[in-house]
């Protein structure tokens, strides 16, 4: 197990370097650089001032030199300074955003798992009933609604029209911190972010449980007179959960994509909002730093999923 984890870690590190190279290249292929993003076309800059700014930022050096300089710095844990917020180091900027993103994504994940598994089980047990059909319809809508659409509709209906929740931000500006205030701001974006994942989990849970319910050992359990509740809870559910766990792990990457939209719409001060602002400003160091850390998280979560998988099912051997 240890050897396996180590090997996966080394592969993960290699993947991160490859990822950073790819992002670096893609960024330089994007038209416009940080100076282009900063200047207002209506304001004359002194001749040479633009060139001076570019050389100050090292943007005039050849690409491999720029990349290696960045990598050398990054390996020592220094991700450089933001170009747009000149007084802030990238590492602290990114680290300060992980908390809010984890809170948002974590809550969304919990909602998605609870809702997805419960509705999935109910749908499977009451197959073809009205409940099953309506759950399936909702799941279909959930899967096919892109995050930006559900976020905007949710914002309009629940925040603007019904005023059940604030329209954005993480805390009420100017108010002292309180858990109630945080939860109030969290509930709408987290619920909206969870929709797609919950729908996916529900679909998987339903089909996986249906498959398991037809297995011999389930029939045996029923034949032994075990009560239906325990048949499902103890015998079927545990086995049916395996593919669902894999799915949950692999949708984390997807959820990050959704979080970027949700954070922009709800002005949630997380990684997503940071990234969107950084891309608009062509803030290279922040984009590189943030994608590197997101990449590391995705790789870590996938590794954790594989290990959890082995723990749930002892038949699966890793290493």
């Amino acid at each position: 197990m240890l050897q396996y984890s180590l090997r996966r870690l080394i592969i993960g590190a290699g993947m991160l370097v490859a990822l950073s190279m790819l992002i670096f290249l893609l960024l330089r292929l994007t038209p416009g650089d940080p100076i282009d993003a900063y200047i207002d076309p209506n304001i004359p800059m002194a001749p040479g001032q633009l060139a001076q700014l570019r050389s100050q930022l090292g943007l005039n050096k050849p690409l491999p030199v720029q990349y290696l300089a960045w990598l050398k710095q990054a390996l020592t844990g220094n991700l450089g300074f933001s170009i747009k917020r000149q007084d802030q180091p990238v590492l602290s900027l990114v680290l300060s955003r992980i908390g809010p993103t984890v809170v948002l994504m974590g809550s969304a994940l919990i909602i998605a798992i609870v809702v997805g598994i419960v509705t999935g089980v109910v749908s499977a047990v009451r197959r073809n009933s009205a409940t099953d059909v309506s759950c399936s319809i909702f799941a279909l809508i959930g899967i096919s609604s892109p995050a930006f659409l559900s976020a905007l509709i949710g914002l309009y209906v629940f925040a603007v029209r019904l005023k059940w929740a604030p329209s954005g931000g993480m805390l009420t500006p100017g108010a002292e911190f309180s858990l109630g205030d945080l939860l109030q701001h969290l509930v709408l974006p987290a619920a909206l972010l969870s929709i797609a994942q919950a729908a996916l989990i529900m679909r998987y849970m339903r089909s996986s449980l249906l498959e398991v319910l037809n297995q011999d050992y389930v029939r045996t359990a029923r034949a032994k007179g075990v009560r239906e509740f325990w048949v499902i809870a103890k015998h079927a559910l545990r086995n049916a959960l395996l593919p669902v766990v894999t799915l949950i792990g692999s949708t984390i990457g997807l959820a990050i994509g959704g979080a970027i939209f949700i954070e922009s719409v709800f002005n949630w001060p997380g990684m997503g909002l940071l990234l969107v602002n950084a891309v608009e400003a062509r803030d290279y160091p922040v984009i590189m730093g943030a994608t590197l850390i997101i990449g590391a998280c995705v790789i870590a979560v996938n590794l954790a999923t594989d290990i959890t998988y082995a723990l749930i099912d002892p038949r699966i051997k890793v290493g």
């Binding site: 038209p31 925040a159 329209s167 993480m170």
Partner: protein, 527 residues
């Protein structure tokens, strides 16, 4: 057992979430005004350094102050930190008598602070975007504590306009920081001090900036206790917060204004954008060489129809860069919509040979729904006379990288749809049209090389007498109207919406956010 635990955990989290939902909103103290002060084209979210500010002056001038600023109608420049000022008859010496003001830390504001600030603003090493505009300044002197004298090497009509954007900075707080490190210093977003009616208390990254009343303000104690500037990803998000009652003010796009009109809970503020929108011909592209082709573009576009249907009438057609009466000569062509005339002109010029129906890229940085609709209309109208334009909307950095490139790829922007500030200082358009401002020197992105236009602009900029200057700007207007460096379109109004509870609130959609005299100390909020 496990199930029981799970059930309890679920119940607990449900209670927690439930508690969160049912709790009433965390109360914010009364006498707090929250707004999206940096939303829209005049805002600059995340910038705290006035030397680096190309916009965002509405907010910056709530805690910093310049020597002079525009009045609230943006008609004349009046004293702020300068209690009064005088300009010598030869327009070379500006003398400012400074007001008796104090910094937020209690230290007195003196002419040394003003001299220090001018030094930073004129030095590009400080990251100042004002350096190029202050190059006519020959010397800055502080003969006594309350007097500042600025001498110019040559008269420059835009000096006062530029000085409105120079926010005074405290020498005692900043002089120890090396000039080239100033922009990178965290002072700006952690503990800045100004002389304005409100003082900086905190910035929560990407969320909001909070200011508290400066009770020692020389203009009297502010009526509000706090002012909060909320950050939003776009105007639509700010409107959602306004409607939800979380903020009391924001800029709104013109196509959203109608939803607020007639609603008693809000007041709509309308003002001149001072930005002229135009189709800029790329003069390095051979297809626009013949002025008859450029005229055909003007005749082919039904500006009145676009203004009526897309701007709901809230824009003035522009026949040159200006729409203000005193800058427009009597005898200019108003290019009334005439597609037949356009076709005729194109035929005379030999358009079929020049370009025919080959696609022409129309590049823009405007990405709003309104701009998309405008360009669709323009595309359809030009297609009717045989000019095949293909709009391409990109973000600002992409636009800049294409048009400001010293060796531009003409095919990428044969035509641009853009805007340029045309007031309150009429000289603002010089940067977009004077041959001396062709990139990399400046933003004459259409590469206009028209000697007659250069001469007219130079003459107007150098004229010290204000009334004679207006006549010279009329000449500029005339040259533009005849030679068409751009196909000028219109000057649209812009809007803000404020809650009806807010009293004595002054706001106008000034280019770059002003600054203008908004008197934040008088703003108040009722129940």
């Amino acid at each position: 057992m496990k199930l029981k635990m799970m059930a309890s955990a679920l119940a607990l989290s449900a209670m927690l979430v439930g508690a969160g939902i049912s709790m009433s909103p965390t109360p914010v103290q009364a006498a707090t005004l929250s707004g999206g002060f940096d939303v829209g084209p005049g805002g600059f979210q995340g910038n705290f350094n006035p030397l680096a500010a190309t916009a965002g002056f509405t907010w910056l001038s709530v805690y910093f102050e310049p020597l002079v600023a525009y009045d609230e109608k943006l008609q004349k420049v009046v004293g702020v930190l300068a209690g009064s000022y005088e300009v010598s008859p030869d327009q070379l010496t500006y003398t400012f008598k400074l007001a008796d003001a104090k910094w937020h830390d209690g230290k007195p504001f003196t002419s040394n602070d003003a001299k220090f600030t001018m030094g930073l603003a004129m030095d590009a090493k400080s990251g100042s975007v004002l350096a190029a505009r202050l190059k006519a300044v020959a010397s800055v002197e502080a003969p006594d504590e309350h007097t500042l004298v600025i001498k110019l090497s040559a008269p420059s009509a835009s000096t006062l306009d530029t000085l409105t954007k120079v926010m005074m900075l405290p020498e005692h707080a900043l002089s120890s920081i090396p000039v080239d490190q100033l922009a990178k210093n965290s002072w700006w977003s952690t503990k800045p001090i100004g002389t304005g009616p409100f003082k900086f208390t905190k910035y929560v990254t990407d969320q909001y900036v909070e200011l508290a009343a400066n009770t020692d303000y020389r203009g009297g104690k502010p009526a509000l206790e706090r002012v909060i500037n909320r950050y939003f990803a776009n105007p639509a998000a700010a409107i959602a917060a306004l409607r939800a009652g979380e903020i009391q003010f924001t800029y709104v796009d013109s196509n959203d204004v109608s939803t607020f009109k007639g609603d008693e809970a809000f007041k709509v503020i309308e003002g001149d954008s001072f930005v002229v929108n135009y189709l800029g011909f790329n003069h390095e592209s051979p297809i626009w060489k013949d002025v008859r082709v450029r005229k055909a573009v003007m005749y082919a576009i039904n500006r009145d129809a676009i203004i009526k249907s897309l701007y709901s009438g809230a824009a003035k057609p522009a026949d040159c860069a200006y729409v203000v009466d005193q800058l427009i000569p009597q005898d200019i062509d108003n290019y009334a919509y005439d597609p037949e005339k356009a076709k005729k002109l194109l035929e005379e010029a030999g358009w079929a040979q020049i370009n025919g129906d080959k696609p022409i890229t129309l590049l823009t940085y405007y990405t709003t729904p309104l701009a998309t609709n405008v360009l669709a209309a323009v595309q359809a109208m030009l297609a009717q006379v045989g000019i095949n334009v293909v709009p391409r909307a990109v973000d600002t950095p992409t636009y800049n990288s294409i048009v400001l490139n010293p060796k531009p790829d003409v095919a990428q922007f044969q035509l641009v749809y853009a805007g340029l500030q045309n007031g309150p200082d009429a000289g603002s358009i010089n940067v977009g049209l004077n041959e001396k401002q062709i990139p990399p020197a400046g933003p004459n992105v259409v590469r206009a090389r028209m000697p007659e236009l250069n001469a007219a602009l130079d003459a107007a900029l150098a004229e010290p007498d204000a009334s004679k200057r207006d006549t010279l700007y009329q000449d500029v207007c005339k040259v533009m109207n005849t030679n068409l460096p751009w196909a000028t379109l219109w000057v649209a109004n812009r809007y803000g919406v404020v809650s009806a509870k807010v009293k004595d609130f002054i706001w106008t959609p000034a280019p770059g956010g002003g600054p203008y005299q908004a008197h934040p100390e008088k703003w108040s909020i009722g129940e």
